[in-house]
Every structure is written in structure tokens, then in C-alpha cells.
């Protein structure tokens, strides 16, 4: 376990991580994950993080070494679209039993690897460590090494048992495994000056494919995408790329930085969420490639494509803008970069009332401030209860969040849109932005929300009955009572002038100011000035209205 501990420590001192860079030495030692609070609801573990980061490798067999808990609850749980093999959807696990735990699970693991090769012969096998085998001391690194030699096939240990930390840490540990065992182990058939890597893009709902045609049009080859729709061979030979784009900064920053360090591949952090972000990203890719020796004309071609795509997208969004204008949105998101979505939503005319920054770096937060203004409501960590209150108080018209927060929004009768991993629509690129706006519009116009907010009709009836019996209602229905109440309420305490007198004066002389009221009544208009203003602002009393 010592090597795992070293890796974790290494990740915690990741210089590519802006948040980490700003910490004091003592803070850094503690690591970058917040200590989990026992008893409070928590997200996924490091195993989960590693698994979801690598699961989109489509042609690899993902073998989970552990009892049924880990794979049994998680297999095929994310719609990362594949253009080829669907082996990634198949769940492989050693399904450890009591005997394995007593005698050790290494043999079973080894056999499982052999059986996968016999049956499926994938280009590689990823073996995921989980808590139990890690605790009993199963050395999956050794097993994988031995298996690789014996079967002549890459068998890669993903050493990220759940107990080491959070999902995010797991993402990074998965990245480390790629760096250690995969990247740079094969050579591409050919290389071009237009080869790029996309790091941290997972092709959820086939999002990547919405952007890919633009790359192809520009002649830019996505040498590898880590790990959306990835094939093992592509990632293994990804070290020959000329430039890289880091798409989901939090998950795989270590991969991008270390590839720059080891293979001299420059990278930038970008996003394809939102029109401007998409344009910026394309520009940056072109710039990096040109800097690394690609012909200059790429820049012009890129600008042309950007101009065309932007015009198209704006035209498609235009009809929605008046419908969305002024609508307030609350954004609670984990993986998808919050600042880039903020920019996207503002483009559609939405007003942002808050965004979560739980997993955002300091840089991300700066960007949000830039977009939303200094007093941007950034939510570090929101409990469902707080979320509920925020929605219930109608500070937002719609909530955009991951699937888990969905039910909070629904209980608060608030329109909600899924922008996280389990979503069914792809929002990436210019096309995706139009889709997102369309979905927001659809969600806001769904008649269900009205249904949700409306109490059962018999409750409304009961309420009306209650009000009928209340003193206020009694006054409203009885002119004599109303008159008495009017006379009983003092407005000017200094000279004892009642509401009725003032109202009558206002009405008969059509008074418009406090001064005028003072002229026509005994009211002083000093300490009672505010109260008189209120009377002036309110409509004439019910009795007088009726008389008219």
C-alpha cells in the first residue's frame, strides 16, 4: 500500500491544480479532499471516481476485484456512447466470497483475468482495486504484472480502493494509472501536425460527436480522447499528440500536466459548453497547433468555421431569448464546469442567481465572478434542505443540476433540468447549446409545475372557509365593522387623528401628498409621516369604494 499512499500524496501536491497552489504548506499536507463528515450524505468513493473516469474506454474489459457490492451496484450506469465495441457495458467482477477473503483473492483474480482473455480477448484489461481486497492485502499490482507477462496482454491495475478518498481523487488515481501503464506504450500508425488529445471528456450521450465534425472539417485529428469513446490503442499512443485540451479540469488535470512534462504536449483548459467557450476552445487548439509547427492558415480556417457556427447557433437561440429573458436559474453541478455553463446560460438570456462551486478551483471561481459579478452567489456546499429553501423562496425559476438533486427541486415544485452525467441530452458544442436552451424552455413551459404548485382544490376551499371566519374577512364583509375599525386605528399619535379621518380627507379632497393631508386634518406629519404615506399609497377603503 505504500506506493498507493505515495501516489495519493503526489496527487495532493499537484502543481497543475490552481486550488492546491494557493494553499499553505500545512493545508497541503492535509490533502485536497475535505474530510468526509460521518453522518452526512456523501458522494461517490475513489473506486467510483476511477471507474467512471475509465469506463468510457469502450474496447477494454473492466474487471472489478472485490465483493459484489462495488460492481453489482454500479455496472453500466453511465451513458458514455461508443462508436465501436460495447464491451465496456459488460460487467466483470471477481465477486469475492467469504473464502476468498479468508484465503486471499489473488488466485481468483488471476483466473478471472484468464477467463476474460479466453472469452473476449480484449486489447487490455483494467483491474480495479476495491476496499476489501486492499484491506486483506491482495496485491493487484503484482497480479496484473504477472498476468501481463503470462498472457502477453496489458493488464492494468487501477489502484483506487474506495476508502482512500473521494470520487475526485479516484478520477486522478485513474489518470495516474493511465500515465504509469498506458500512455506511451504504443506508437500511432502515423502522426500529423494536427494531432490533439482531449483530456477529461467522456462522450456522455455522445456529446463529443457533436463537436467532432468541426475538428474534422478543420483537419484536426483527435488522436485520443481520454476517455470518451476511447479505444485502448488510441490512448496508448496519445503521447504523440501535438497539443491537448483539458476539458473537465478537475478530473484529469494531473494527466494533462504530466503529459506536458513527459512528452512536451502543451495543453489548455477549455470547454465546449456554451457558444463563446466553444469558439475560444477551437481558437486555442488552433493556436497551440500552429505554435507547434502546424501551418499558419489553420488559424484563418478556424475563424471562418467559428464565425459560421456562431451565426447559426445565435440564429437558432434567438427565438427563445424573449421567452427566457429574466428567468432566474440556480446551477448546482459537480462535474460539468460551472463557469462554462454560467456563460452558456447567460447567452440564452437567463439570469443566474447562484452556482455551486464545490469542486471548482480558485481560477474557476474567478471566472464565475467575472461572469456573474462580484456578488455572485457561489455555493460551496449546499444541503438538500438549503437547496429546498432557496427554491421554495422562489429565488429561482429553474434549477439545473445532477440527477441526485432532482428530487429536491421537484419537492419544491421547481422546474429542473438535468445537466450532469445521467442526462439524456447532449449539450456540447454549438448544437448542444441550442439543445440546452430548448430543453430549458421546455422545462419552464411544462404544465406540470403549475400542477405541482397548486394545492388540492379542497385545501384551497378549506383555506377560503378559514379566511371567511377570520376577523379580517369579517371586516371586509361588514361595512359597520369596517367603519369602526377605521376609526379605531390611530395614525397620528401626537394629535390623535385616526385612519378614517385621514382617508376621508384624502378621498373628498383628492389629496396627493403628506403636506396636503396636514393642511386638511390635524395630523402633524412628523413621526407619522411614513404612516400617512402608506395611506396615500393604498387604495381607497372598501366602504368608500362601494359608495362610489
Amino acid at each position: 500500500m505504500s506506493s498507493l499512499a505515495a501516489t495519493v500524496k503526489d496527487i495532493f501536491s499537484e502543481p497543475g491544480c490552481a486550488k492546491n497552489g494557493s494553499k499553505s504548506e500545512a493545508e497541503r499536507k492535509k490533502g485536497c479532499t475535505k474530510q468526509l463528515q460521518p453522518g452526512s450524505a456523501a458522494g461517490g468513493c475513489a473506486f467510483d471516481g476511477a471507474k467512471i473516469a475509465l469506463q468510457p474506454f469502450t474496447d477494454v474489459a473492466h474487471l472489478v476485484h472485490g465483493p459484489i457490492a462495488c460492481e453489482g451496484n454500479s455496472w453500466d450506469n453511465r451513458g458514455a456512447a461508443s462508436s465501436g465495441s460495447s464491451l465496456w457495458r459488460t460487467a466483470f467482477t471477481t465477486d469475492m466470497s467469504e473464502t476468498d477473503i479468508v484465503f486471499g483473492g489473488e488466485k481468483r483474480l488471476c483466473k478471472a483475468i484468464k477467463e476474460i482473455i479466453d472469452k473476449h480477448d480484449p486489447p487490455a484489461i483494467f483491474v480495479y482495486q476495491t476496499c476489501i481486497p486492499a484491506m486483506i492485502g491482495d496485491d493487484i499490482n503484482a497480479v496484473c504484472k504477472a498476468a501481463s507477462q503470462r498472457f502477453g496482454k496489458p493488464v492494468i491495475p487501477i489502484n483506487s480502493p474506495g476508502f482512500v478518498g473521494s470520487k475526485n481523487l479516484g478520477n486522478k488515481l485513474a489518470g495516474e494509472a493511465l500515465l504509469d501503464y498506458v500512455i506511451g506504450t504504443q506508437e500511432p500508425d502515423y502522426a500529423t501536425p494536427y494531432d490533439v488529445n482531449l483530456i477529461g471528456e467522456f462522450n456522455l450521450s455522445g456529446e463529443l460527436w457533436q463537436v467532432k465534425p468541426l475538428f474534422e472539417e478543420l483537419g484536426i485529428r483527435i488522436l485520443s480522447c481520454i476517455s470518451g469513446d476511447a479505444k485502448y490503442r488510441e490512448v496508448a499512443s496519445s503521447h504523440r499528440a501535438r497539443a491537448a485540451m483539458l476539458v473537465c479540469s478537475k478530473a484529469m488535470v494531473n494527466v494533462a500536466r504530466k503529459m506536458e512534462e513527459r512528452y512536451g504536449i502543451p495543453f489548455f483548459e477549455g470547454s465546449f459548453y456554451g457558444i463563446q467557450d466553444s469558439s475560444d476552445s477551437l481558437r486555442q487548439i488552433a493556436r497551440l497547433l500552429v505554435e507547434r509547427g502546424a501551418p499558419q492558415e489553420l488559424l484563418e480556417r478556424t475563424e471562418a468555421v467559428i464565425a459560421r457556427e456562431e451565426a447559426r447557433a445565435w440564429a437558432a437561440i434567438e427565438p427563445y431569448k424573449p421567452r427566457l429573458k429574466g428567468k432566474k436559474a440556480l446551477l448546482i453541478t459537480g462535474g460539468v464546469k460551472s463557469w462554462s455553463v454560467v456563460a452558456a446560460l447567460q447567452e440564452a438570456g437567463l439570469e443566474m442567481v447562484g452556482t455551486s462551486v464545490k469542486k471548482s478551483t480558485r481560477q474557476d471561481k474567478e471566472r464565475i465572478k467575472l461572469l456573474m459579478g462580484q456578488d455572485a452567489h457561489m455555493i460551496e456546499d449546499m444541503t438538500p434542505r438549503e437547496m429546498y429553501r432557496m427554491l421554495k423562496d422562489a429565488k429561482a425559476d429553474i434549477m439545473l443540476s445532477g440527477g441526485k438533486s432532482q428530487f429536491v427541486a421537484l419537492k419544491a415544485a421547481m422546474p429542473w433540468l438535468d445537466v450532469n452525467q445521467e442526462r439524456c441530452h447532449a449539450y456540447m458544442g454549438y448544437v448542444g447549446m441550442v439543445k440546452l436552451v430548448e430543453e430549458i424552455d421546455k422545462s419552464l413551459s411544462n404544465p406540470m409545475w403549475e400542477q405541482l404548485r397548486r394545492p388540492a382544490p379542497w385545501e384551497a376551499l378549506a383555506k377560503a372557509m378559514m379566511q371567511m371566519q377570520s376577523p379580517v374577512a369579517a371586516i371586509a364583509h361588514d361595512p359597520a365593522l369596517a367603519e369602526a375599525a377605521r376609526r379605531a386605528r390611530k395614525i397620528c399619535f401626537c394629535n390623535t387623528v385616526d385612519l378614517g379621518t385621514i382617508e376621508d380627507a384624502i378621498y373628498t379632497h383628492d389629496l396627493r401628498s403628506v403636506e396636503a393631508v396636514r393642511d386638511h386634518t390635524n395630523a402633524v406629519g412628523g413621526c407619522c409621516r411614513r404612516r400617512i404615506e402608506d395611506v396615500l399609497a393604498s387604495s381607497p377603503p372598501a366602504g368608500l369604494q362601494a359608495a362610489e
Binding site: D76, G79, S82, G206, L410, K442, M448, A456, P457
Partner: protein, 518 residues
Amino acid sequence: MAQSAEHVLDHLELFRGPEYQQMLADKKLFENPRDPAEVERIKQWTKTPEYREKNFAREALTVNPAKACQPLGAVFVSVGFEGTLPFVHGSQGCVAYYRSHLSRHFKEPSSCVSSSMTEDAAVFGGLNNMIDGLANSYNMYKPKMIAVSTTCMAEVIGDDLNAFIKTSKEKGSVPAEFDVPFAHTPAFVGSHVTGYDNALKGILEHFWDGKAGTAPKLERKPNEAINIIGGFDGNTVGNLREIKRILALMGIKHTILADNSEVFDTPTDGEFRMYDGGTTLEDAANAIHAKATISMQQWCTEKTLPFVSEHGQDVVSFNYPVGVSATDEFLVALSRISGKEVPEELARERGRLVDAIADSSAHIHGKKFAIYGDPDLCYGLAAFLLELGAEPTHVLSTNGNKAWQEKMQALFASSPFGQACQVYPGRDLWHMRSLLFTEPVDFLIGNTHGKYLERDTGTPLIRIGFPIFDRHHHHRSPVWGYQGGLNVLVKILDKIFDEIDKKTNVLGKTDYSFDIIR
């Protein structure tokens, strides 16, 4: 031979065997074969707007009607009374149809007799058939009541049921005090919903207004009970049980008029029940004293409700209430009439339905539907779809009239999702076929006959209505009440998800979206 004694194939597989295929191919040669290209051209032509126009210009011909005839509704009502034998005066062939229709839908035996009029009866009148028929059925099937309705044959020659029954009693076919209510139910007027109305009115009239002059009229002494009329309904078993449950929860004394929920769902325990459950004759008579009568289907009680109202009761009618708002209205009406509160349990059920809608409405929102069926059913389902943010783009009812059309249009006008929706009264399923080609929708809601529309037009069919022959047991689940709304919601969602799966399950082509989470 494809067929062998060891392994007997049924028609699904047998005729795919080579010798049968050869036989069918050979046979075709002698059948004035058409050029397949020409057949294809015509087939494509039937999908065009040009064909649609011709189709809608039809005046005389009805093709694939979505309605049945009056006596079917009369039989449906009659079996809902205790020990009652439906007796259809007219030709026996018609009656065989009602029996098979009801049997195939409910998967239950359907007991019903006819006076078996033949040619001579058609010439000389059916009096003798009535006399013999009543005597025979009374003696053979030992009913507590015989409810008489008519087929066209008896109506065309003008047989007078009142006089015939009187004469039969005088001739001793049945005892003088034996209950023989009747209704004239010609098929050439209205449809099965009209027959439902006529037959029910006939039975109530019989009990309330002095049994065709043989007894004093009942005097109404108002009490606290409420009468419920379900109307003609393919889901009558589930729906009436649900209504009874709701009324029990609210503590409302009630009588379900024509309660056929038992006879169409008898248990298999070794005993054949020719009659089961039903409104007792005593209850039917005492229903006159009720505070109010609620009809769940306006177009099924156009004559019955005014009749009840004339007797001094409050009457309220609904249009096949499905979904949150419609059920709300129903419960509020119950609460208003009875003075009882809606109990917490129903409030919770409401919350659950709203919750379910919220959880999955995104999948239904914006989808387009075509609906056909009885007028009330169409209205209820269309209202529910609008509530879900779906568009009931085409709503077609062969037995819908002008008043129904106007009510549907008002419903469309009340919702932003109804703006592009059209109502088609008096049209048939061949019209629907054209509509599904020229103005396509995402889903079709209708009865079993819709399966050919589904096949021809590729519009997935959601089966709600009557008759449903090719799917079993759905009539046992309610579609009314919050619980019923949930059932309809699930039914629609199942179809939506099935379709998504179907469109994404091609290995290596579309299965990148063949996800387990929807």
C-alpha cells in the same frame, strides 16, 4: 412435412414451412396477380395529402368504424343488475356478437339471450318470439329480472315492447310481478353509448315510475346516498372498484347503478356464475331517494341524467375523469354533495400521482398523440395529456357529435398545448390512417383495432378503450382516481421507453444509446 405429430406447430409458425410457402406462391399465379410495383405505388399514394383529401371527402362509406351498436351498450348495462338476464328482442346473430365482443374483452363468459326472430317473425311481428322467449329464458336461466332491448330488426317493423311484454305476462310467460324493464335500442340510431343510456333509463323508469303501470310510482324521500353511473367503459371492472374504494374512504353511502364489475370478473373456484354481483333490484328502486346522481360519462347518460333530475335529484356529469385535475373535480363534487371531507389517504394518493408526473413528465412533455374512442374517453384522455404537456393532436370519435366537438375545442383552447389540436367527430379509423400519414404523431391511443394503424403507419399504439382483445387483463386496473391516473401514466411511459429502446438496439449501429438508465 412441416407439421408432425411429435411437434405440432400452430399457425404462427406452420405456414412458414416450405411446402405451404410454395402452395401460397403457386396459388397466387391464378389470382390475377398485380404488378408488385403497382401495388407499392398505390400503397405509397394512400399516404399522400392528395389521398387524405379524397378520404375525407367520403360521404356514404364508413371504413373501420370506432363504434358499436346500441344493444351492446344495453347488454353491458343489464348485466350490471343483480341476477339480470339481458334479453335482446330481434335476430339472434346480433346477440351472438355482443356476447363474443364482451367475452373477448373481459375474458369472461357473457350470458345474454335473444328472441331469435326469423323471417316470418319479421313479416308478422315478433310477438310470439317475445312470448316464447320470455317463457323459455325465465324457466331455463332462472333470472331475477329480464332486461329487454332490441335489435334493428324488431325496430324496423315497429314492435311495441311495452305491449308485447304486457301480453307475454298475460299469457303467463313470466309472473305478472316479475320485473321486465325494457328499452328500444335500434342500431341505426347512435351507438353503444346511446344504448347504455337508453337501457339504464329504461330500468330506472321501470322501478321508479310504476313498473309500466303495474305498480304505484315511487315517492322520493331524499336521503344522504349518492348514485354513481359508470357509463360504457372497457375498464369498468377496475374503475367501478376504484370508485367504490374512494366512496368508502370518504364514508359516503352510495349505489352504483349497473355495477357490472363482478360479473365481468368472476373468480375461478369451480362454480359457474351466470350472474354475479350487480346492483340489487331493491337498491335500483331505492336509488330514487338519493341526494344526487353522478355520471362519470356525460355522453353515456344524455337521457338518463335529465330523467333523474326530473325526479328531484342533483345531477353532475364528468367526461371520463383521468388525471389530477379531473380527479380533483370529481372528489370536490363528491365532497360538496355529501358534505364529507376528502380524507388524508386520498390527499396522499394525489401527492403521489403529482410526484410521479413530476418525475417523468419530461419524457411526455411535447409528445404528440392521436386518440380515438368513445367521446368521453377521448375527452378524459385528451385532458390528461394536456395536463402532462403533451399534445392530443388528433382526437377522433366515430360516435362523437357536434356538442362533443365543441366541448373538445373548448378544452383545446384552454391549454397552450391544445392550440394545434384537431377534433374529428363522426370520422372512422380509415380517416385516422390518413391523418397518421399526413400529420404524423408520436403515439396512438385506442383499442385493439388500432394495431393495423400501428403496423401501417408505424405509430406505436397504447391500448386504452374498448374492445381490447389482444392484450389481457388491463380492464382489471382502474384508470380513474389518482391510482388510475398513475396506471395511465405508466402505460404511456412504458410505451415511450419501449420505443426509445427499440430505436437504439441495433448491435453496433444505434446501441451506443441503448442505456439502462432512462
